[in-house]
């Protein structure tokens, strides 16, 4: 290697590149007006970063054939990558990575493997998985996909194989409380079910004047491209924040932010007290409510049913669509009328309604909500949440002063407590009240173009297990048909609706990421066969029969990505930077090899031969050929060459509009979906009717129903993301560059309230043992006595320690050897109605180790 010391280097001077040099050998275009920085010796290759799950576009720096790190792509509308991305070399060049295929030799969980070559490992996998297909029950195989490396091909192998079961991860994240709670108010609906995932709407932090963050930390749960840069801009431009959190985070502000410590699981109470104040102060624009929401909708005060509904047709972009029309009182005519025909719908009042032969008194939805809120005074909220009533009133004032360029964040990772769904519903209703939807600085619709597909697998014969649960399980009625990884454990244990006998985990960590370690271990031990496809070790790999190391995102070309949680459309490219290290293999190759072995020759010929012949270029061409959601002019611009040169194409955001994708096409401050579910559940005598009510009502967290207050050695385990870690991923925690920072911020510790800790005889830095009295697992961690934590809470950074599965320490070099993961000790339970894993909703005990 040629040596160049610092002084000699300066003599070489800097060479500005005419444009990014890319590995494919396409010659650089003529010099652009903007000078791209370059030492003259560097290549820059576009990648979609996968240090966390979100694929921020960036440029990988390569010098002397080595990946140095990733930096911002100046072509991106939101140019910037975080510390994890910068530390990519620490992921790639880590000898602790999985280097070769591994075959288990000890018991599942021991973490004893032997090295194998690819053909032996692939043949073994095929021989085990073919069995179910041959028996005519391909649905006995479930494939959990998360950090998968060959989109467009890998899942398709198993779709052609014929299983319907692809349990997605998000019932441990947002798919239940957040998606349904927010979707019920603004939509969109899919197959009659509300589902507002984080892909659908964004908070317009960059333009907001004031915001309430409860259960959301946009820079701790750091993702640059879709929101963190916007959040930073908002902060710089004067965004004022109130942070409601049992632990005070640093990322939202330290000496300049309003922190309201709160009892864990009582955010719903705070929100109800806040809603009470907003309603009392009339913090809304009547015009907005009348025009964009169903606040004037007449409802039966007792049954909560809309007084009268009908279906009408409406013109929507050259199509005719059906929407629900509802009765209102028209002040112009003095009569009850359908909203579509009313001139001046009343926001208030009780009115006589004659509908379908029946006469009764109905009230406006707004009034009915206001009535329900009467008892939820800030004083009541203080009693339940420990947030002082005057602080709640202050927040209401701040929202009043700053609306509509203000928001209450509807959260992201919402599956924490049994009452999280209700909390998100109430938050969403408030956002509708203050007019945040469709406004600058409020909640705006995202815009993701859709890409074409290369493979079109046939539909599976059997139904996915999620369908059964949605129909028959009262606590999965509002569950998600796509995201049910946590729920699938129940099938593994009970064999209902039918047995799942084998699982493939493609970049998915069930045991680390899902609550209920004891039950999940039982389920993993019960499976006939387990396969993990992953470059990295994690809890689930301890229970694998075979592990196949796929190459990391910098070691492979990958399908183009257009799915971003952003109002600005983007289409982004990931190209191979360096060859895979050790014996890791391109996941597209792995997919072809699995397809060759699992499927018939005919199926392979039809679905996979084209990729075998045409490679990534073919996949990319097909993706762009099928591009939808951009103008025809833009479509001709977005070519494979354009993406190779620039890394990303961005369009422009549409101006925000208060559009709702609900059955009524209005923001449903009074959800018709919930009203319908409420009626059904009431009629069936189902206790979940209280959870389904469209009204804002209090429900306790599960732990609150088990005791009046916590004993002195008891805590509620809460988590938040560290901006340098990524869930339980080895790529970040076993990364020397990131561990250097992690050690400086005690990322392996549990943080408890200082006074409470002292009363337990702890000192800062003591080793403590932590356990859930309901099961046998024990975890240990260093304890930090902190003034920033509510006495009921025990805070830990999510996913940094090995938790109860200390065998992981055999595989890691830089990661912390101790640390707490609540999922391991959590009970295996489901939040009522929505089915999320309620990861914080239990009690743990702590003692000195």
């Amino acid at each position: 290697m040629q040596k160049t010391n610092r002084r000699d280097f300066l003599k070489l001077g800097g060479l500005a590149l005419a444009g990014p040099l890319v590995a494919s050998g396409v010659s650089p275009k003529a010099a652009r007006a903007e000078k791209l920085p370059g030492y003259g010796l560097e290549k820059r290759i576009p990648v979609n970063c996968r240090m966390c799950a979100q694929k921020c576009p960036g440029l990988a720096r390569v010098i002397d054939g080595r990946l140095i790190g990733i930096e911002a792509n100046p072509h991106s509308i939101s140019p910037g990558v975080c510390g994890r991305s910068v530390a990519a070399a620490g992921m790639v060049y880590n000898p602790n990575r999985i280097q070769t295929p591994l075959i288990r030799v000890g018991e599942r969980g021991e973490g004893k493997f032997r090295r194998a070559n690819w053909s032996e490992a692939l043949d073994l996998v095929a021989s085990k998985l073919k069995v179910y297909r041959d028996q005519g029950t391909p649905e006995a195989l479930a494939v959990a996909v998360r950090f998968n490396g060959a989109p467009g091909l890998d899942t398709e192998v198993f779709k052609v194989y014929g299983t319907p079961n692809f349990p997605g991860y998000a019932d441990t994240c947002w798919a239940n409380s957040r998606a349904v709670g927010l979707g019920a108010v603004c939509g969109p609906f899919s197959k009659g079910q509300p589902g507002c995932s984080p892909s659908k709407v964004s908070i317009n932090y960059a333009k907001a004047k004031y915001g309430v963050l409860a259960g959301r930390n946009p820079a701790g749960g750091l993702v640059c491209y879709p929101w963190a840069l916007n959040f930073g801009k908002g902060k710089r431009d004067g965004l004022k924040l109130t942070v409601v959190d049992p632990r005070k985070p640093s990322e939202t502000g330290e000496d300049n932010v309003n922190w309201l410590p709160i009892k864990p699981g009582s955010d719903l109470a705070f929100m109800l007290g806040l809603f009470h104040e907003l309603m009392k102060n009339k913090s809304y624009e009547p015009d907005y409510l009348i025009k964009h929401t169903n606040a004037p909708m007449l409802v039966d005060a007792k049954t909560l049913q809309p007084a009268g509904m009908r279906e009408i047709e409406k013109d929507d972009k050259e199509k005719k669509i059906k929407i629900l029309d509802y009765l209102v009182f028209d002040e112009a005519t003095g009569k009850t009328q359908f909203a579509s025909e009313a001139e001046k719908p009343a926001l208030h009042g009780a009115h006589e309604v004659l509908f379908e032969g029946k006469t009764f008194t109905a009230v406006t939805a707004l009034d009915r909500i206001a009535k329900e809120l009467e008892s939820y005074t800030p004083e009541w909220a203080e009693g339940k949440s420990d947030v002082p009533a005057e602080e709640i009133r202050k927040v209401a004032k701040d929202l009043e002063q700053n609306r509509p360029h203000a928001f209450i964040d509807p959260t992201y990772r919402s599956e924490r407590y049994f009452n999280s769904f209700k909390m998100v519903q109430v938050i969403s209703m408030m956002n509708a009240l203050i007019g945040a939807f469709g406004r600058e600085g409020g909640i705006i619709w995202n815009h993701s173009p859709k890409l074409g597909k290369l493979i079109h697998p046939p539909k599976p014969k059997a139904d996915a297990i999620s369908k059964h649960y949605m129909k028959h399980d009262p606590n999965f009625r509002f569950g998600n048909s796509k995201y049910y990884r946590h729920k699938s454990v129940e099938t593994l244990l009970t064999d209902k609706p039918y047995p799942i006998k084998a699982m493939v985990f493609n970049g998915a960590n069930l045991l680390g990421g899902s609550a209920g370690g004891t039950e999940i271990v039982k389920a993993l031990e019960k499976l006939e066969f387990t396969l993990c496809i992953s470059p990295f070790f994690n809890e689930t790999t301890l229970y694998a029969d075979v592990i196949l190391p796929d190459a990391t995102f910098v070691e492979r070309n990958e399908a183009i990505n257009a799915k971003y949680k952003s109002e600005v459309p983007g289409v982004s490219m990931n190209m191979k930077v360096i060859d895979p290290l050790f014996d890791a293999k391109d996941p597209y190759w792995i997919s072809l090899e699995l397809a060759r072995r699992l499927l018939t020759a005919e199926e392979y010929e039809t679905h996979f031969k084209p990729f075998e012949v045409g490679g990534m270029e073919l996949l990319w061409e097909k993706q762009l050929a099928g591009l939808k959601g951009v103008s025809d002019k833009d479509k001709t611009k977005i070519t494979v060459d354009y993406l190779k040169q620039n890394g990303i194409w961005n369009g422009t955001a549409r101006p925000p509009k208060p559009k709702a994708k609900t059955p009524t096409h209005k923001l449903e401050i009074f959800s018709t979906f919930l009203a319908g579910a409420y009626a059904e559940l009431e009629a069936a005598g189902d206790s979940n009717s209280l959870v389904a009510t469209p009204l804002p009502v209090w429900q306790p967290a599960n732990w609150m129903t088990t005791r009046e207050k916590l004993a002195n050695d008891e805590f509620i385990p809460i988590t938040g993301f560290a901006p340098i870690n990524s869930f339980t991923g080895q790529q970040t925690k076993d990364n020397r560059l990131l561990a250097n920072v992690g050690e400086a911020i005690s990322w392996d510790a549990v943080f408890i309230n200082k006074s409470k800790g002292k009363s337990l005889g702890f000192t800062d830095g003591d080793m403590v043992t932590i356990w859930n009295p309901d099961n046998k697992l024990e975890q240990s961690a260093k304890v930090v006595l902190s003034e920033l934590v509510h006495p009921d809470a025990m805070f830990s950074y999510y996913g940094t320690g090995p938790g109860a599965f200390k065998n992981l320490n055999k595989f890691y070099g830089h990661a912390p050897k101790t640390g707490f993961n609540p999922n391991h000790s959590a009970p295996y339970h489901h939040a009522p109605l929505v089915g999320g894993h309620a990861a914080h909703d239990f009690v743990i005990k702590m003692r000195k180790a």
Binding site: K3, A16, G83, S250, E787
Partner: protein, 271 residues
Amino acid sequence: MSIYSMCYDSQACVRCFTCVVSCSVENRLRLQRNGTTSIETGVNKALPQLNYLYPIQREYGKYPKSYRITELHHCMHCENAPCASSCPSNAIERRKGGQVVIHQDLCVGCRTCQDACPFDVPIYDQHSNASYKCMMCYDRVESDLKPACVNSCIADALISGPREEVVAEARARAKRYSEQFGKEYIVYGADKINDYVGKAGWMTIVSAEEMEKYGLPKNPMVSSMVLRQTTKAFGLGASAAVALGAGAHFLYWLANRKDALAAQEKEADHE
């Protein structure tokens, strides 16, 4: 070439530590470039002396009226660089752009710079017997790039460039924050802090009442080093005075000696 300066905006910063990681990666790249160790080895080593930028977190107040301050610890690139002026082997250079740089190949490992620095900056590495600190990526700057940390900041909380521009931008931000928060925000180091350090090449936008908690003292000074400096200066003067005095005495003695010799000769003639 004008003075090149930097500024850290403690209000805009989201404590994501991208800057910290970026600095550590850039330093490993430098090790690869000068042939010490390639990236794949460097990224698996802790190399604490190359953590030019690192966080120190401290808590203040009592629950629930409590908060944390994360100090982003770094070199101030002082105008009067006491480390440079006290270095006995002239290993610390203040470059034309104002960056204060320790050249490890000239460093003898005496750690006087550690003694002299009031901000606790230079880190000593036993293995290489040298001290290390931030060099404001002068190699990048002199190649028309921004320092690694500035280049990587996702919140625009690190700015750099010609000093006048940076000071102007920083003052504008500080003014805005003062209005927004109803308390005074200052630009630490834009003006002379004291005689010991002078101005700072790396400034900070910070709330005046919190600045000490961010590692920015009102009067940064190492009094023992001031004594050494005074003694050195005094000693220099004193040695000069001694030399002058000795010289003067010698001339006086010489003059006396001439007289004495002349007197002796006269006596000899009379005999």
